[in-house]
């Protein structure tokens, strides 16, 4: 199978913007559950030149790909205020995923990634 690179692309390192076109950081990792279903993306948020950034897990469903007017762009349907206060992502610890419902979050053991918020 051959896919056109206009149609598909890698996602690690892609920058993410909010609906208000604010910089929301970059995707640095993807979280899947044991079935291989994508549950969340880890974004490296905030800081300056790599100092003071926070890694936050956001629900895969709040990421919108190629939104209207921005082909190839990624929009995070959360506000900076929601993202900045989220607990930091730490490997091997229970994962807190920022879901579509906003600041509400569900904590589950990381072995099972995340359970749906609603």
């Amino acid at each position: 199978m051959v896919l056109d690179d206009q149609e598909v692309s890698g996602i690690v390192g892609k920058s993410v913007r909010s609906n208000a076109d604010e910089d929301m950081g970059r995707i640095v990792d993807i979280i899947v559950n044991q079935d291989g279903h994508v549950r969340a993306a880890i974004i490296d948020f905030g800081g300056f030149l790599g100092i003071g950034t926070r890694k936050i897990a956001v629900d895969w469903r709040v990421l919108k790909f190629s939104p209207a007017g921005k082909p190839g762009g990624i929009t995070l349907e959360l506000t900076r205020n929601q993202v900045r206060v989220a607990p930091e992502y730490k490997r091997g610890e229970p994962l807190v995923v920022l879901g579509p419902a906003g600041p509400e979050r569900t904590t589950t053991p990381s072995t099972d990634a995340a359970t749906p918020e609603r």
Binding site: D44, G47, L49
Partner: protein
Amino acid sequence: MTPANPTDAGSKAAGTNPTIPRAARRGRHLLEPPIGASRRSQRALDWFTFFVADVQTGFGPFISVYLTTHQWTQVDIGLVLTAGGLAALAFQMPGGLILDAVRSERRVAAFAMIGISVSALVLALWPIFPAVLGAQILHAAASCVLNPAIAAISLGLVGHAAVGERFGRNARFASIGSGLAAAGMGATGYFPVEPGGLPGHRAIDRSHAHRPRAYPGQPDRSGPGSRRAGTRAHRHHVRCAAHAPDQPLAGDLCRCVGIFQLANAAMLPLMASIVTMRSSTWATTLVAACIVVPQLAVAAISPTVGRWAQRFGRRPILLLGFGAMPVRGLLFMVVTDPQLLVAVQLLDGICAAVFGVLVPLTIADITRDTGRFNLAQGIVGTGIGIGASLSTTLAGLISDRLGSSVAFLGLACIGAAGFLLFWLLMPETAERKDDRKLLPSGRK
């Protein structure tokens, strides 16, 4: 051997420098007249320091942002940063030994500069794992000789009597260099250029044309691996120090400054992460301010710090620097207003100025008759490196388990321990009468 080398470098550069027989190394300071380095040499050294700091800024924590834009995974980024950090620790003392052995520090500095340029080019052109790994190690090795070489050239250029002020100038220009580089990289970073790599590329290219204030890396850098190597390097250091019985003070200074770094290195990243969490619209600006404000403070005060060190002695100024550390930690613990946090960062500027000037100055003092200035720089540099790499791990652990306030309190306590240790271990190292007599009066 150092005292002879800087003289070589100095006499070529300054023109006015009397040549001192290499044989007269021991007790050379007795022969050393107040050297009047030419304006041109002084200026050249200013700019060299400036550009070195400028370039090194690009190799800081920013590297991980840059590699992320090239679709690097966190694991790989952690690996190359750890490798670079370990190499930087391992090369400190060999770097010092090499510098002590060579005839011309200037040539070594030039080679180191070429190494750093090559490393920057490789990062920009081939951001693939083996190339970046090699570039990080090359950069670490080059940096380990470059900064000591600048200090040695400074010492050779102006002599012991006036070197405090010269180190002050170095710190000023280094700080302006890294401040401008950070500002430039921040500005380029704001243009939303996709595909990803571009802003990073540009920043690296720009920085291709940095320093004690290199902001110690992120937690990745200091995994369990680096701790192991830390111990190894420490053992090595103890051995080396034992082989240089003429400078037991270098070991003491190494311990004090290492403990200072253990308290210091994690403070800015921890605080910046809290600012990111607390402040919404202004977070980026505030974090940038927290980085740039200390740089401005260093640029403003370090020549004065150098002059004071010559007038009042090293100990009181160093005690001031060590003392500022626990105060800073306690203030970070209680201050919540983001704007006030930036003001507290002025203390970081004071610490950075004091250590940027006084550490090489004290090393110059205690190796005055030994010709082992650069080895001692390597020993102290190893202590700084170990302290810095353990710092982020330690603060990260405390902050995860017990919260950031406790982490700041812990860092403040370590800072206080550093202050006490310095108070107990280190005597005044300046030869005060000499220094006062030889202090050039015609400085700006």
